[in-house]
Structure formats: structure tokens, C-alpha cells
Symmetry: C2
Subunit: 621 residues, 2 copies
């Protein structure tokens, strides 16, 4: 591997300097340190002052300022913070890893954007007159690092634009003039620069609206807010795994492609390799273009001949001529019928045969829920969860629903409704505790920029138990408030839910025992035959975060409900097997990751809660 | 919630007994304990002898034996292990949670399968003559618990069959006769039984082949081996998250539905809601059945009329009659043309318009890799990984490839080839360490039943560094072994890989710097213009576990390679933006979860490494 030296520090030990400086936590897979390792410390990095580090990131903003009177060729950082040993960290790196050789090769290899090292690309070092102040981010934390670059090190105009990438070695220092930064980096070497095409870079301007950013899903994580959301989402995802793993649940990956379609008349996305086959057929049809043209010619001839016959008839000319003309026309007609028949049968074949052929042998769909398959694993492994994408053909407001969204789904065997409610409540409260613990700075950012109640909301959710009321009680409570009565059996609206969670209880509310017809057929029917053992968790501001319930474990009841809904038993007979053989009471729930992100952050558009939102007409990136 | 008492112990504290017995770790979301909490202890559960617990699970096997002379009505367990206090645990539960009330309700609610409590369903307790010995599993660990049930507690024939579910309260006891079990459970109450339809239950017989089990993906996790694989897979999944999270990577969820298709001529699954639209069109066509029938009638008439005209001609009858007949035929022809035209245009519309219309506005696919989208997040958040399903239209051996498989994909910004190789090697070694630590019993099971080298293999992978050779070196090494030369540039076969990893090195081998044309266009071209900075990790027995490389960060090179492959630039222009704006050197890799499961367990059929395998013609459950 001598031909491709690496920045990695993982395989060899770095020579120890004496006395040992306070440790900067290094990233294991390059010599670079994450900004989090500096700025994420309780002291904001002050304790690391004097240490030489390598950092990389993207410029958030950059300004050039006149340099106060300092002797040229020496940066103020190097002056203020004498090097601990004679040999600099960069020299160690160079000796050890031949960075320069490799960079020289990169240079000759033709990097398209600006790239230089050590000194400006355009000649020998000029006398120092200006200094660049760059705020850079590497995505590892919410904070940015100020990097001070002397113009003797690099042409400043190349590194100041927003969006430029930079890999720089320097010394951590306490800024001489007190300001908003606890520490800054005094650059000693600029090792790599990736420029921006400033005319085309859409994120050049400072604060951009979330709606504007949505048009650039591949670039928007460079916006501070979108990066914060990504870190919050990461933390919530990992806490989800932590919660279930630490409580003895097994993560099982359930299928996306399914032939079990129990959504009744609701549309699902279909999966096929059909249209490429249909393309073949259309191509086949195109080969017959020649024939199609012939058909057109014949049809034109038929028209012409018909006209001629009409003339002959009108002119009362001899019958011999008319007869010949008619016989001639008849031949043309026969030929036309033949060609038309051929044409039609190709088209019909394309539709009928190609539509019924399928890679999976029958119509296959993208699963809208792993629910049914998950029960199969719960009915042998006891307590399981899945966490993955699910798919819905949604034509509602794109800000409220997604065609592709991530769900955690949970199933507990030997468990009743209340067990699932307890588990779901604990899960949400765990997420609230952990997000405050793991993402304090990103949450502060959300608090300032999106929703100044978000931190209070999740703190209060984490600390007090949820309210629990039955659907029937919910209707009674609402009817005390409203002129217009809520009729028992109707599905509670978003507005009803908000009145309960935001106004009446001021905390999450679990509403259980819903009317049978408002919930899926596999939920357990209660003895009143009117309600099922379902529950929803409604949170202030966010609305419905969780849906769940106890499943119908009794075979006869389940078949009966399926029949009433018009489901075809053979479509889900495998699911009935779970009741035929060793059935148990079991309960579960599902929660949408995007809805949880929205609850935690206060975001009001679901497209901002997922990296690449998918919706009608929208999957371009 | 008084109407639906729960078995949950999470909300109320259980009255303390004095003196406190050794603690059984309780499951938080029901009063049941996981078998792992008993059998997973270092002492196999012996230290818990005398404790009363509630367990649930499925019967693996059951036998009925004559009971040795013991006074009736008292089970040997109760006799051997006097209750610590006057009040039994079950009485506490009954008082507190009204279990009996609830069970009574379940009984009246019509459970379809066998269900009874306390005593046999068919009358008062009979004098005790026999005892049932059940081995049960709840999926929480590889071991089974022996449950001893007196025939006075339940009709044994109902609970002995394999696959029966049972919820039972009893006392943990050291078996009187020494045998294979460290402890057993002496049942005191049978709280719930879910019978099996023995004639139809496919897993009634003892040891079943994996091929047989594959036909029942929804039931096969009840087989010990499949459950072990599921626990190993869970552990590998969670360790994957642990490894990347602890090293500062962010988990980002990348889209499944994509319109970016760079696989060139390789087929991808398409996503649509088309065929239901096409169904509409076909229905529309069906409405025109009436017209179609008319057309058939007319065509029959035309045939008849044509025949008549031929007869008229042959009989040389008067021209008047022939003329009338011909004119009559002509009218029929015109009508037929009209109807045919209408029919054809409906069919053409169905194909052309409906095929080009699409939910996402253009052709959308199931992503075969999150690679490109992941780079977008790496180029702002630095180090990211995705972990989710990917899709391939595969027509190879179903035992070797899947249409739907789980991949972890990783991307590091400011990182070179060697950084990614180091990270991938550490990742695999971490998985090997953690699986031995977290799943020792399941790994023992694999060792005994599947592959008696699997434990040695993962231990050696965890302890020694991988070999690293370039592709060119690999070809030279192989050519020393073979008569038949391997030509530089050919893709190494599975056999070549096996010779390197199994025979020559006897450990995993990283092969890097592959011929340009054998790898994707986005890998970084080396200065020789012949190779790219790619790498594969080949493991003994399993073959290729990881593929990765350094990505081309230079815009001009990337465009050039895409052009040579005939890619349409506008299809991936957003991806080029990542090079136009703040490009950095970045590297990454991807690893298939199923391949890792196969490596770890020694399984040789990939369909056994995933819960619900998807392949051509196979997505029925």
C-alpha cells in the first residue's frame, strides 16, 4: 500500500510528545479530529489550547480583514503558542505518511476545483497583509469552528466562499480579542481546498428558508438547521434501538416486498419489472411500423376508391366499371382487416399478457406496514421490533404525509393492551430523556430557530405520566366543550385530538378502546362487540405519535371480521396459521420516526424531517 | 382501565417477601419472565431455585409419564419447595389484577383453541396418575425450559403437542433425578393454552430440514435453528449500530424509491401505481364490450356477404344483384373500420398514456444501493452510514442471491482508500468479537448443527489482521498456482477468491486497486488510468463480505467516465453537484447483512439468513 499513503492514524502509534498535552479525541479513520472533539467539550475547547490538530469541513461564512501589525511570514497563532517540540506535528505526518507526495500526485491528477497547499497557488508568498476568518462546520456538532488563515498560507479569495471545503492543520488558541468563540484554530497549513462554483451554488446566501432548501435535498444537509435535524434523527434512531434492545426485544427485518394486500380498497405501490417487458412489446409493435404504414396507405386507398364509387354511382356510368371498382375495394378492405387484426392483437397481448406476468409470480406491493409479518416472529421469539421504511400511496398535503416513511413497529407475545400501552409510553419518554442528553446543542438550535416550546414539551413528556382515557370518555369530554356534538363512532379529528392533548390535558393522552369500524380488522374485539382493544397516543402539538392495540388471537373471530370486510381468506391464510397453531394473546404498536422528529423539534412540515422526502411527483434526487 | 386488567408489573410495586430471594430479572411489560433470565445465568438458574415465576412459551416436545407414588392433589414441586409466605405469588396476582375475572371473560369470549385454567376442562380434578414433561421455548435464548405439569392441573393431551403455546406459573426447582437440565419449573397453575391443529401443523415432527422449513417462513422461527439465526442476526444488526455510533458516524436513512438509475443496462424493480390505472382502462375497454360484440357480428356478416358475392360471381348471375351485394358489403366494411379504429385507439391509449404516467412524475425504481445519496450526506456531515433494505433484479441461484437484502453502507469524508479499508476491517472484527460475547449459546448451536469451524473462523478473524494485496498481486499469486492463467483485467471468480482466502492466506484478504472496467464509474481513477481505488474483502468460506473504495472527487474525471459508459448526465446531475461545490476526497464501503450472517454461522443458503426471503416467483408470505 506504499503507493497510496493514508491520513489514517489507526494503524501506527504517533510518537509521544513530552509533557503529554490534554488529549484531543481523535477520529480513528484519519488523522483529522471531529470538531465535536474540540467544541463539544464542557470548556468549549479551552483546555486544548496549544494543541496542533488537523480539521476538515465546509465554510459557512468567511471574511477577509486587514492584519494588525505583526511581522510577516509568522502567523499570530504560531507566535502565541510555541510548539512543544522541535518537530511539528505536520512534519511528523509528512515524514511518516508522505502526504506531500500524495498531494502532489493529486495536483497533477487534475483536481477541477481550487486546490493548493502551504502557500498561494500563484507564486511565492507575498508579504502578509490580510487574514481570513472562516467559520467551518464538519457536521459532527452544531457549533462551528473559527479558522484564522493568513493570506501567506493560501489565496484567501479561493477559500472564503460559503460551501468551500477545506482540510487544514493548525493550533488551537484562545482568541486574543474576546468574542463569541471560546477557541479558534490558527492555521499553519492548508492541505486541501475544494472550491464552489459560486454562480451555481444555491446555498451561497446566508439564511435560507426551509422551503427553499427543500428544492436541493442533496445539498441542504450543509445548512445548519438541516444538519441539526439529521443529528437529532440519528440520535432518536439509535435511542430506539437502545430502548428495545435493553428491554429484551429482538430487532427483526421484515420484508418490504409483499403479496399480502389487506388494505382492502386502498391503493398500494406495485413492484414489477413489467414496463421494461412492455417496452419490448412496444418495440415489437414499432418494428411493425412498416405494416402500420401499409395499413394507412391502404386506408387512404379505400377512401379514394369509395369516393370513386360514389362518383360512378352518381354519374350512372356503366355497371361493369362500378362492379370492377367495388371488387377492387373489397380486396383492399380484406387486406386492411387482416393488418388491423394483427395490430390489435399485438396491443392486446402487450396489455393482457404482460400485465399478468410478474417477477414474483403475482402482484407484489411495497409494504405499508410490517405488522402482519412481525406477528409471525413475535409468535415464537416473544418480543420483537422492526425499524425500516414503509410505503403509502398518499395524495394528501405533501407537508403532512409521505409516500416513503420510517416506522418502528413492536410486537409483544403474552401481552395485553395495557402492556403495549406501558411499553409505548416508556419508549416515548425514553426518547425524550435521551434526546436532551445526547443532542443538547442541536435542541438549543431548534428552540431558538423553530419552536421555543420544544424543550419544555419534551422535558414535561419525559417526566409526567400520560393521561389515559377511553374513546367513549374522550367523546363525552369533547361533547361537554362543543356545541356541535361528536357522534360516538366517528373518528376523532386532528382538531379534537389537539383539544384533548394541548388544551384539556396539556400532556400526551392515550385514547383506548376505539369503535370497531375505525380500526384494522386484526384488532381484538371486546365483549361489547362495538369496540376493539386499540389505542392511540396523542401528543401536544404533534398529534398522533403511536397507534397500537391488542391483536385478535381467536381464529373464529378473526375470520369473521375478515369476511365482513370482504377480504379473501386465501390472501392472508398464512396469517391465520398463527392462530391455528399455538395462538397467544399479543399486543403491539407502531410509531413513525418522522412524526417523532416533528414532535421533538417542533417542525411543521414532514418533508423537513426526512433526508429525501418522497411524494406525488417528487422523487427527483 | 379497570375493565381490562393487565399482567403488567411495571406500574405497581409487588409486595416484598422476607427474606428477599435472589432476584429473577423480570420483563418490564408483563408479569412473565423471559426464559433467558433463568437459563441464561452462569449457574443455569440453580440460584433461583424456590422462586415462583410466570413463564410463557411454545412446546418443543412433550411426554407423559407415570407419576411416582406421591399423595394426590399436591404437585411434587410444591412439596419440595415450601412457599416462602402464606400467601402465594399467584394469590397476590389474583387479588391485585383480577386475572381470574379476565380469564373467565376470555373463556366466555370464545377462544377457538384449547384453553383452561387450574384444572382440566372436563370436570373436577381426577386423582393424579400421570405427569407431563414439556420442553418449552420463548425465543429469548437458545435453551429450553423443562416444565413439569401434573395431570391434576390440566388435561395433558391438550398441552403436550409440539407447537402448543402455554402460559404457566410455577416454582423453579432442581430436578430430583439428575439429567440434562440444571433446573425445571414445577407448574402450579396453567393460565393459558393455545392448542395446535395437529393434522395441519407442519412443524409437528422433530428435526426438520432447512429446505422444508423454508416453505413456512411464517412458522419457521419456531424451529430452534431459525430462532438462533434470528438472535444472531439481531445481535449483528445491533453491533453494527454500536460500532458506527461509538466511532462518531451518524445513521442516515436514505431513500428506497429513486429516479436515479445509473445501473446502465441492468434491470431494476420499478415502482408504480400504474397497473391499477391500466385496470381502469381495461375496464373502460370492457364497457365497450357491447361494441366489440357488434364488431364481431359485423365481421361475421362481412364474411357471409363475401361468400355470397363469390357465389354470385361463380354463378354469373345478374350484375344488379352483385352490385347490390357489393354495396351492401361496402357499408359493413365502413362500419367495421369505424369500430376497429375506436377499439385500437382505446388499447393504444391504455399502453402509451398509462405507461408514461407515473405517481412520481417519471419512472421510479427500488434503489439497489444508497451509495449516491449517502455521499450527499457525507459531504456535509462527514461520516455517515445507512442500514436498510436494497433491491436487485436477480435471476441467479436463489440460494446465492436475493431480490431484497439488507445492506450497511458507509461513507467517510476527508478519507482515502486506506481509511475505508481500516474502517471496514475494524467493523468486521468488531462484529466477530461481539457475536461471541453476546450469542455464545446460539453460536454453540451453529457449531454443533451447521459448521464446526464457525467459531474458530470468527475467533481468528477477530484476532489477526487481514491480508492486503493489490489486484495485480492477486493475479500474480494465482498464476503461480494455476496452469490456466488468469488474465489481468478479468474479474476474479468465486473460486479464485476461495483459493486466496481459504488456501493461501487462511484469513480474510483485502484486494485493492481493481481494473477500472470491473468497478462502478464513481470510483477514483488511479494515475495509471487502468485501475481504480476500489477494494473487496474476501473471507474464508463466505467469499466477498465487503466492497468499497475511494470515490472520484474530481468533476472532470467523473463526467468523463460517465460519458464513456453512455450515462445521461442529466440523470445524475445532482450527484455531480457534490463535486462542483466543496468537493472532498471521500471513501466508503458496503456490506451485506445476509452475507455476514452466513459467514458467522456457516449457513450456505442465503434464504436461511433473512426472515422472509424474496426471489423470482417467491414472495408469497
Amino acid at each position: 500500500m506504499a503507493s497510496e499513503p493514508s491520513l489514517s492514524a489507526s494503524n501506527e502509534s504517533i510518537p509521544q510528545m513530552e509533557p503529554p498535552p490534554p488529549a484531543v479525541e481523535r477520529f480513528k479513520y484519519s488523522a483529522r479530529v471531529f470538531l465535536r472533539s474540540i467544541l463539544g467539550r464542557a470548556d468549549g475547547g479551552k483546555g486544548l489550547a496549544g494543541q496542533r490538530v488537523l480539521v476538515g469541513g465546509w465554510v459557512k461564512s468567511g471574511v477577509e480583514k486587514q492584519k494588525p501589525g505583526v511581522p510577516s511570514s509568522l502567523s499570530p497563532g504560531a507566535a502565541a503558542h510555541p510548539v512543544v517540540k522541535d518537530v511539528t506535528c505536520s512534519e511528523v505526518l509528512i515524514n511518516r505518511l508522505s502526504i506531500l507526495r500524495s498531494i502532489a500526485r493529486i495536483l497533477t491528477g487534475g483536481v477541477c476545483n481550487a486546490l493548493s497547499i502551504g502557500k498561494p497557488a500563484d507564486g511565492p508568498a507575498k508579504p502578509v497583509t490580510t487574514v481570513g476568518y472562516l467559520r467551518i462546520s464538519d457536521g459532527s456538532c452544531a457549533a462551528n469552528l473559527q479558522v484564522v488563515v493568513d493570506s501567506s498560507l493560501h489565496t484567501l479569495s479561493q477559500i472564503l466562499p460559503t460551501g468551500t471545503s477545506i482540510l487544514v492543520e493548525g493550533v488551537i488558541a484562545i482568541p486574543k480579542a474576546p468574542g463569541k468563540y471560546a477557541v479558534e484554530l490558527e492555521a499553519e497549513k492548508v492541505l486541501y481546498v475544494g472550491g464552489v462554483d459560486a454562480d451555481k451554488y444555491p446555498l451561497s446566501k446566508g439564511l435560507l428558508s426551509r422551503a427553499f432548501l427543500r428544492a436541493y435535498p442533496h445539498l441542504r444537509p450543509r445548512a445548519s438547521m438541516v444538519a441539526s435535524i439529521a443529528r437529532i434523527r440519528n440520535s432518536l434512531s439509535h435511542s430506539t434501538h437502545q430502548f428495545f434492545q435493553s428491554n429484551g426485544f429482538l430487532n427483526v427485518q421484515m420484508p418490504i416486498i409483499t403479496t399480502t394486500n389487506l388494505r382492502n380498497h386502498k391503493k398500494m405501490f406495485e413492484v414489477s419489472i413489467l414496463s421494461s417487458k412492455a417496452d419490448d412489446s412496444l418495440r415489437l409493435a414499432a418494428i411493425n411500423d412498416q405494416e402500420a404504414k401499409t395499413l394507412e396507405t391502404i386506408k387512404a386507398a379505400i377512401k379514394e376508391k369509395s369516393k370513386r364509387i360514389e362518383e360512378l354511382k352518381r354519374s350512372n356510368s356503366n355497371k361493369e366499371a362500378l362492379l370492377t371498382a367495388l371488387q377492387d375495394l373489397q380486396k383492399a378492405n380484406e387486406l386492411a382487416h387482416q393488418l388491423e387484426h394483427k395490430h390489435t392483437s399485438i396491443l392486446t397481448k402487450t396489455i393482457k399478457e404482460d400485465f399478468s406476468e410478474n417477477f414474483f409470480g403475482r402482484q407484489a406491493y411495497l409494504s405499508s406496514s410490517t405488522q402482519l409479518h412481525l406477528e409471525s416472529y413475535a409468535c415464537s421469539l416473544s418480543c420483537v421490533y422492526s425499524f425500516g421504511p414503509t410505503f403509502q400511496v398518499e395524495d394528501g398535503q405533501p407537508s403532512k404525509s409521505l409516500a416513503e416513511s420510517w416506522k418502528v413497529e413492536v410486537e409483544l407475545a403474552f401481552a395485553r393492551l395495557e402492556d403495549a400501552m406501558n411499553c409505548a409510553e416508556d419508549f416515548l419518554r425514553y426518547l425524550c430523556h435521551s434526546i436532551i442528553e445526547h443532542c443538547p446543542h442541536d435542541m438549543q438550535f431548534m428552540y431558538k430557530r423553530i419552536d421555543n416550546k420544544c424543550i419544555d414539551r419534551i422535558k414535561s413528556m419525559g417526566s409526567s405520566p400520560f393521561a389515559r382515557i377511553s374513546y367513549t370518555e374522550a367523546v363525552e369530554i369533547l361533547n361537554k366543550r362543543f356545541e356541535e356534538k361528536v357522534e360516538w363512532g366517528t373518528i376523532l379529528s386532528r382538531e379534537h385530538e389537539s383539544i384533548l392533548a394541548d388544551e384539556i390535558y396539556g400532556r400526551p393522552v392515550i385514547i383506548y378502546d376505539h369503535p370497531k369500524d375505525s380500526k384494522p380488522f386484526y384488532l381484538r374485539v371486546r365483549d361489547d362487540f362495538k369496540t376493539v382493544s386499540a389505542f392511540d397516543i396523542i401528543a401536544p402539538k404533534a398529534g398522533k405519535l403511536v397507534q397500537g392495540g391488542q391483536k385478535e388471537e381467536r381464529l373464529d373471530k378473526l375470520i369473521e371480521r375478515g369476511r365482513k370486510l370482504g377480504l379473501v381468506q386465501e390472501d392472508y391464510d398464512w396469517y391465520l396459521d398463527l392462530r391455528r397453531h399455538g395462538t397467544v394473546q399479543h399486543s403491539g404498536f407502531s410509531a413513525g420516526l418522522e412524526e417523532i422528529v416533528m414532535f421533538v423539534t417542533g417542525l411543521d412540515d414532514i418533508r423537513d424531517a426526512i433526508p429525501f422526502p418522497r411524494n406525488r411527483g417528487s422523487a427527483d434526487t
